[in-house]
Subunit: 324 residues, 2 copies
Amino acid sequence: MIRIAILGYGNLGRGVETAIKQNSDMELIAVFTRRNPQDLKINSNASVVSVDEIEKWQDKIDVLIICGGSATDLPIQTPKYVKLFNVIDSFDTHAKIPEHFENVNKNALESGKIGIISVGWDPGMFSLNRLYANAILPNGKDYTFWGKGVSQGHSDAIRRIDGVLDAKQYTIPVESALEEVRTGKNPELTTRQKHIRECFVVLKEGVDKQKVEQEIVSMPNYFADYDTTVHFISLEELKKNHSAIPHGGFVLRSGKTSDDVNHIIEYSLKLDSNPEFTSSVLVAYARAAYKLNKENQKGAKTVFDIAPCYLSPKTNEELRKNLL
Amino acid sequence: MIRIAILGYGNLGRGVETAIKQNSDMELIAVFTRRNPQDLKINSNASVVSVDEIEKWQDKIDVLIICGGSATDLPIQTPKYVKLFNVIDSFDTHAKIPEHFENVNKNALESGKIGIISVGWDPGMFSLNRLYANAILPNGKDYTFWGKGVSQGHSDAIRRIDGVLDAKQYTIPVESALEEVRTGKNPELTTRQKHIRECFVVLKEGVDKQKVEQEIVSMPNYFADYDTTVHFISLEELKKNHSAIPHGGFVLRSGKTSDDVNHIIEYSLKLDSNPEFTSSVLVAYARAAYKLNKENQKGAKTVFDIAPCYLSPKTNEELRKNLL
């Protein structure tokens, strides 16, 4: 059994707990929390432990899945805990990945542990598909579409507007743009042509709808470059119809191997729950971290550095026989 | 520069020649042939050499891409030439992959070379996607649809019928079945529900159409389990409208992470030329063979055993910065 621990019990941590139950070669040993352990109710028999005690668990855990946020948690936590454990994170600030990798790598090489960073679906499975498709079709063009799904960042941006009680924002790919890419015409698409944004907003009492709507659609970076629709709804309706966290998207590469010979490679995800799917990817890579460490490998890794067979509970013989 | 040679100059060999021109870190050194080299015209400046001379080229070539057929060529050629070179093949007889792997592995371990087998899109990219999706969603169901594309085996089966001059068979996925899978309902689909078969047949003069049509649609294994349509056309029409070799297909996994929380992972290919795309995958894995051998690795490998970064001409730093 691969002994897993979770650091941080938010949406992602709960998703990891759920995913481990689907993998019979793994068990959840502990959930580490910054909260008072007595106050945390979890959905399994694992121990709930203050993060202050984490050092004592070094011999009881094979892989620590770090479920913190990319903004402030992971840049500190992942380099710190790779000194003690094999770790996985879902660091998703694309621009800071090289720096994060170096920080984790330095400590992982010293401790002899594995640290797999930026695991999930983007970065993660989408990145993998970009890499494979680029290697196969060097003469081509990449397209990524996100959605339909909830953008946490955009929802938060609306919530910060004066007079807004709550909000959910959906990013929606433009179907006709997707279809055009699939024809192999390699269109140049503007931001506005690729995605639309749909917002469901609950206002505080007496607030001017038109003013808030104008503030949303003209917000730079978040909405100004998109066609955005705003719906004002009640808090009850928001809770009833918009409490799920679906997401997904499409990665396409359109490329030629010779004149007029075109190929389309398309990968897509349609996810009922963004955190539960991301967690499932984290758990598969936790298995990889365990196996790599057993082979005495060490250092920081990304999804690019790990052979697919490491993700599976099956032996290489079984994989060749049944999945190849 | 990675120095490549091709063994066998059919559709696949010509595709490899074309693909190498798109990869600036590679050059085609030689084409080995069983024909008289003087009789073979190729589309590049590489040497055309009798396969009887192949041993003399050991120091001039980094990777040999073996472009023979799976039925009789590859089971002999790949174990034989991995004694001399790093090799790649596209062995696609699924049931015999374990045996082929063992044969190649034994000789590769002795020679210290790399032998990557069963490279292409199925087996190959489809297999990879099955593996990743199974590891991420252990509680789910796999679906593979092929087409729209030309099935060489089914076209050959029609050509063997008495009275048939030439024929092309297209395998076509049933769109409504694909759509049902995408809903997450996990349908049980029969062979007939997944694919239809469309045949374009040229008859010899005076042959009975009805008799041939009946023979096609009732042919066991090939057509009897499918809804098959047969069109009789002229040789001119066949050459004009059915000389391309398109193919493609869809690999889907539909899985749950908890009650009522479903996810769909879908990978699809739409290929104008089956051999040119397969060749492009072979060439990407030739790069991997070269890099692995430089690290003193040896033995047989499949796409499951090779970390994605080995396929790319970019450095790991570049990949993390630009594709992750």
